[in-house]
Symmetry: C2
Subunit: 466 residues, 2 copies
């Protein structure tokens, strides 16, 4: 794959910079620290800094910025919390990073309709704090405290997707600033509609390459009457995965079911100062009425027992649950930091649930034959799992090993009719695999991109090269 | 609105017809009966016949047909069961209707993954018959025994959408023949993916204007352990709607909840030879475990009673349920045929659930002030309802009245942040309303259409005029 990374490029035109300064004042930053921050990512990619950063505070400001950038032919790269892990927000060709993290207004909550509208920079934890008193919650949980706009842009999902879906299902409508400098609304607040093309779903997951999301209308859910969380260790990886597959096939509406392999549990124990047994472990969460949760738990516990699972360790108090899920959310950092000075290199795939045991077991064997420390964890109820490598940033050999393991993993998933990324997105890292997965369909995507962004200025170089 | 309906156009080029004949033999039909059938619809639109009909039997045949049509500049209009009601399959500019109803292969059922792949011409009732022995079902139910391809093209939903979603959620992947004559696959069988633009959702609901769907991979669901259906009459329309809204707001996972107003109940009784009380009535269906259904029923019955509902009349045996839902499914024909020789004119809107009582009550008042017989029925759990007029096809005055009532209905829905069509699609009938609803976003749709279908040959004149 050829990525046109930060080629030698001329400095921004002084007239353009002056126009930015006039419109945005101090919200324009061109200092080294700001550029470096926006040119870094949480993963292994080389830094790719923008030439300027603009902190936008409204849709109107984004419209003005887009008009200035498109008139000057300058790339524009949306930036939220910076927590994506396929280099999705890196400024491959420089230009302006538009930082939306100050757009934190919760515009409206319609509790009786189970929806809300927020600016793109609202973070999911803050949204849930705001909603709690109304008995509502927003379930999508990718781990990181990402912005809602970033989550929409990358079609994020995470631990609750098995029950509540992904951002594909959670987003009812978007406000998007398109490359022609207009702010459009993609849909109304109606739960369903047959009115024209589904622009909402087109922009969800488009990683900022077709427009910049400035507001999001989200589906919400009532906080369940009963929430129970439990942890269960297993004799074998196979037994743990089989328990999940069988639970799903029995129609149990699991709210969360996460797998952490033995290596990941050791990392979690060390990082979060816990003392779980260091064996393959499932983290469960059950939502429902008291009777409904009881029914689910009985069935799943029987399945776990039949598959070599140990006793369920329950966390029913909110603070116990918070501790449990905090450990799960820190799993990425835990896995990366199993050795000092390492950098994280992570990948994810998603396969049909019936192929999951085979896919995970083959991957585990491949990891065990390698030399780079690696863990497996994942949202196994969806057939989705991650591998996290803790890689020496200075070792070309380790990089080659990791890339080879990743290649085998993705090929394995594709042969099983799965996808090269369940939730991380294509970004910079999975572009060749997108073509391997979808073939000529990628040409259709390119046609759409060229039609909406003929100058190729919106997050250029992501998903595919034109 | 200007629709370029069947303008005087030259006959098909004889060389083009010869090429069709050579490729398709007897599967090419140009007789008057076939042209008339494909130029008619179930609704009030004037007939708009194609110049030829081709019965396709495979994706490869559709590819060849598309290549012949695009080379000759001839419009191509997909046709399934002909049950759509916004004129979605009419040949506005003639050309070739490609009839997919003979593509009836069930390509694969992956019971353990809860999915299946079918050719576009499979009808939903036949699919469910096929699935029944495996304990699975495909829930989307628009009433008519439509083809799966047609349902995907129009983003169909119907009675079960409140619980199981619409075709937007049900479709995992599509095979689509695009205007450049390629067959693409839009996604894998993975439950979720972050791999590039969501082409699946772009083609779902695009009404054949961007490509022709030839195969569909669908999510399936386990047949619930317990299914209970009930009918409940109400003192008032307000009471019935309030019962639904409150049930949804309490988080009851209703599988179906349909409203039929007094006029619709009278029509159903007459058409289906039943003797329900002729008052506003809710048809319910509950799915779940025995305990789960019991919990739902208890709550909903209490709400109904508090809102002036009568006794629940239960249908728990499969044949009783079939009779009940058959009556519901025939409601459209029942409503149209309240007077002999009438033609159906139907519309639908969808609003946020909190606005539904107001929207339905105002609409009812408007209908009662009119002279054309009309009924209200709908999938009220989604905020979606229909009005069906039984219109004298020869009365310009009745047409004016109906159009005026429809205009007020759609404006009412848009003011309530709803949509001009919950499930019928835009087709020919709602084009101005699409613009009223989404404004500049429609320009983005046009840009996509021009990019993918630069000759404007794929179901031209639908959704919008270019």
């Amino acid at each position: 794959m050829h990525i046109d990374v930060n080629p030698a490029r001329p400095a921004l035109d002084p007239g353009f910079v002056a126009a930015l300064r006039q419109r945005f004042g101090d919200a324009l930053e061109m200092g080294a620290a700001a550029l470096a921050q926006h040119g870094a990512s949480e993963a292994h990619f080389a830094p790719m800094a923008p030439d300027a950063v603009v902190y936008a505070r409204s849709t109107e400001e984004v419209v003005d910025l887009v008009r200035l950038c498109t008139a000057a032919g300058v790339p524009i790269v949306p930036y939220g919390a910076g927590t994506s892990i396929e280099g999705n927000a890196l400024a491959v060709r420089g230009g302006v990073s538009v930082n939306l993290s100050q757009m934190t207004e919760i515009v409206a909550v319609h509790a009786e309709d189970f929806d809300c509208t927020v600016q793109a920079g609202v973070r999911r934890e803050e949204l849930n704090l705001h909603l709690r008193d109304q008995g509502l919650f927003f379930p999508i949980d990718p781990g990181a405290n990402a912005t809602i706009g970033g989550m929409a842009s990358t079609r994020a999902s995470g631990t609750n997707a098995v029950r509540y879906g992904t951002m594909r299902e959670a987003v009812l409508s978007l406000t998007v600033v398109t490359p022609d400098g207009k702010a459009i609304k993609t849909a109304t607040r109606a739960r369903k509609s047959a009115a024209g093309y589904d622009l909402t779903r087109l922009f969800v997951g488009s990683e900022g390459t077709l427009g910049i999301i400035t507001e999001v209308t989200l589906r919400l859910h009532p906080i369940p009457e009963t929430i129970s969380s439990a942890v269960c260790g297993f004799d074998s990886l196979q037994g743990a995965v089989d328990t999940v597959v069988q639970s799903i096939q029995c129609g149990v509406p699991l709210a969360r079911v996460e797998i952490l392999d033995d290596k990941q549990m050791a990392a979690v124990n060390a990082w979060s100062r816990l003392d779980y047994p260091e064996v393959t472990t499932l983290f469960f969460e059950f939502h429902g009425s008291p009777m409904g949760v009881e029914e689910q738990v009985t069935l799943v516990r029987d399945l776990a027992e039949a598959n070599g699972g140990g006793a369920f360790q329950w966390s029913n108090l909110p603070e116990e649950r918070a501790k449990l899920w905090k450990a799960r959310h820190e799993a990425y950092y835990a896995a990366v930091n199993v050795r000092p000075g390492a950098v994280g290199w992570t990948t994810d795939v998603c396969v049909p649930i019936s192929r999951l045991p085979e896919c995970i077991l083959e991957t585990k064997r491949d990891l065990e034959a390698g030399t780079v420390p690696a863990t497996i964890l994942g949202h196994v109820g969806d057939g989705n799992f991650h591998v996290i490598f803790s890689m020496d940033p200075n070792s070309a050999e380790e990089l080659r090993e990791v890339e080879a393991i990743n290649a085998r993993l993705v090929q394995r998933a594709l042969l099983m009719e799965g996808t090269c990324t369940g939730e991380h997105g294509i970004g910079l890292g999975k572009q060749d695999w997108l073509v391997a997965e979808l073939g000529d369909a990628v040409d259709v995507m390119r046609t759409l991109k060229r039609a909406l962004d003929p100058q190729d200025l919106f997050n250029p170089g992501k998903i595919f090269s034109l």
